[in-house]
Symmetry: C2
Subunit: 276 residues, 2 copies
């Protein structure tokens, strides 16, 4: 692995990690801490409006590793699918406005009342295909993020990097993957699928898997506090030629979201240098 551990420019703070903060607070907080990249969620961008958000981020000289997140394609009827597609097109425009390196997409789960997993998979593929021309026109790469299988029912039915890679094969130019260690660390096929993804890795996210994990969604750990071999996965990712930003994204209702955000940033910086 290249010794990038001291290079602050490779760390991005995901806005989900400092949940209490607005975009303005995130921008100012990162500037103060000497962090040069962010990965905002759409809510804090929308809260100020995309023009003002873009100006604020550019004015601070920050890089936007990616915009989180859109997708959620499957729906129970045609109107639902059309609404999802419209929202995804808006997300592409938001990503373009703030100069995001990619737009992160999660698949979406089973439509309400449905048990048709294969049908949901088809809706995801069709939704991505329908979104792609607009994304290509806007110059926004789409990053399909496989989520942990425990989210298959209600958040995302694309749950392995293999599945995301298959979608990339099918859809072609303009689509890549987001690799988040939390979702893929358990997969015995991971080394092979990271290699297969190669240049398609658009963004790389870290946090940690805690033992015990007390909540399916909101109990993720700070890098170093769990069982994921972060250095090993980073080595695999960088072996593909990825030398991009590492995005720290932590959902943690009972711990990190309750701490003082500037302090959280300092710990992210420290862990980035010691364990990521």
């Amino acid at each position: 692995m290249r010794d990038l551990s001291r290079d602050k420019s490779l760390l991005a703070i995901n806005s989900a990690t400092v949940k209490p903060w607005t975009l303005e607070q995130l921008v100012k907080g990162c500037k103060r801490a000497g962090i040069t990249a962010i990965a905002p969620w759409r809510d804090i961008v929308q809260a100020v409006g995309i023009d003002k958000a873009g100006a604020m981020i550019r004015g601070a000289g920050l890089t936007v590793s990616c915009l989180c997140r859109a997708g959620l394609f499957p729906a129970a009827d045609e109107a639902g699918r059309r609404a999802a597609l419209d929202d995804n097109r808006r997300a592409v425009d938001e990503a373009a406005a703030i100069g995001a390196g990619s737009l992160v997409l999660i698949a979406g789960g089973l439509p309400k009342g449905s048990k048709d997993l294969a049908g949901a998979h088809e809706q995801v593929r069709d939704g991505l295909a329908a979104l792609l021309p607009h994304a290509r026109d806007a110059g926004v790469p789409l990053a399909i993020e496989p989520l942990h299988p425990m989210y298959a029912a209600d958040r995302a039915c694309v749950n392995t990097l293999a599945h995301a890679n298959d979608l990339c094969d099918e859809l072609g130019e303009g689509v890549g993957v987001a690799v988040d260690v939390y979702h893929v660390w358990w997969d015995p096929d991971l080394p092979r699928q990271i290699k297969r993804a190669g240049k398609r890795i658009l963004t790389y996210h870290v946090c940690d898997w805690l033992v015990p994990t007390k909540d399916l969604l909101l109990d993720r750990g700070m890098p170093g506090d769990g069982v994921i071999d972060l250095r090993a996965i980073r080595r695999m990712v960088e072996a593909t030629g990825y030398d991009g930003i590492i995005d720290v994204e932590i959902f943690s209702a009972q711990d990190w979201w309750k701490r003082e955000p500037n302090q959280v940033l300092r710990i992210c910086l420290e862990r980035h240098q010691t364990v990521v």
Copy 2:
């Protein structure tokens, strides 16, 4: 799919479903309900002793679909691995004593303090290989049960049917798989891996995935109450030639474990006929 839905003889009650019951209560309760098969966990067998347990089950004319469960191979040191192997040999003896169709094994997770997933995978393979001669001598087939990836860290690092099938390929005669819908339903590779498993499917377990799922371990649903397409998976399993028993196994601390067990049995019977 063959119309087996009215055939009570194909339903087994797993003792985890009626957690408050002793083996004697389980045996008597199943007899009363006209259920002819059980799948006990080791705790209730050990509580009465294997000789008495075997006599009690045989006396009631019940079939034992499988004994749950052993495995848990990885350990931090040689003494730990030896203790695991000793315990697994005792489990084989227990399975033989009660005439179980197979002994269900889960892999075990990462040893305490370890992040070496590949190393844990090796320990599982080595542990299975070391156990196998004793299991073959005793005539007890070993059923490797892949657990949901959310258990990779602390319960089982074999999390896909593909991985379990790979282990079977490597280990040969005497090893098969346990397919539990809860653990594998999300996998886009499931149809292919069930077909690949073929005659190796030793036992088939059902419950359901609830939305929302409130606890990683103890919030499984009664068949029909969740999002798993049970009939579709059963069709795949039966297409391999499996015409064995379907084991209802529900971990449900806040719901089913609090209900009156005889009532739980009646609902299992009803769901077996209507949705499984």
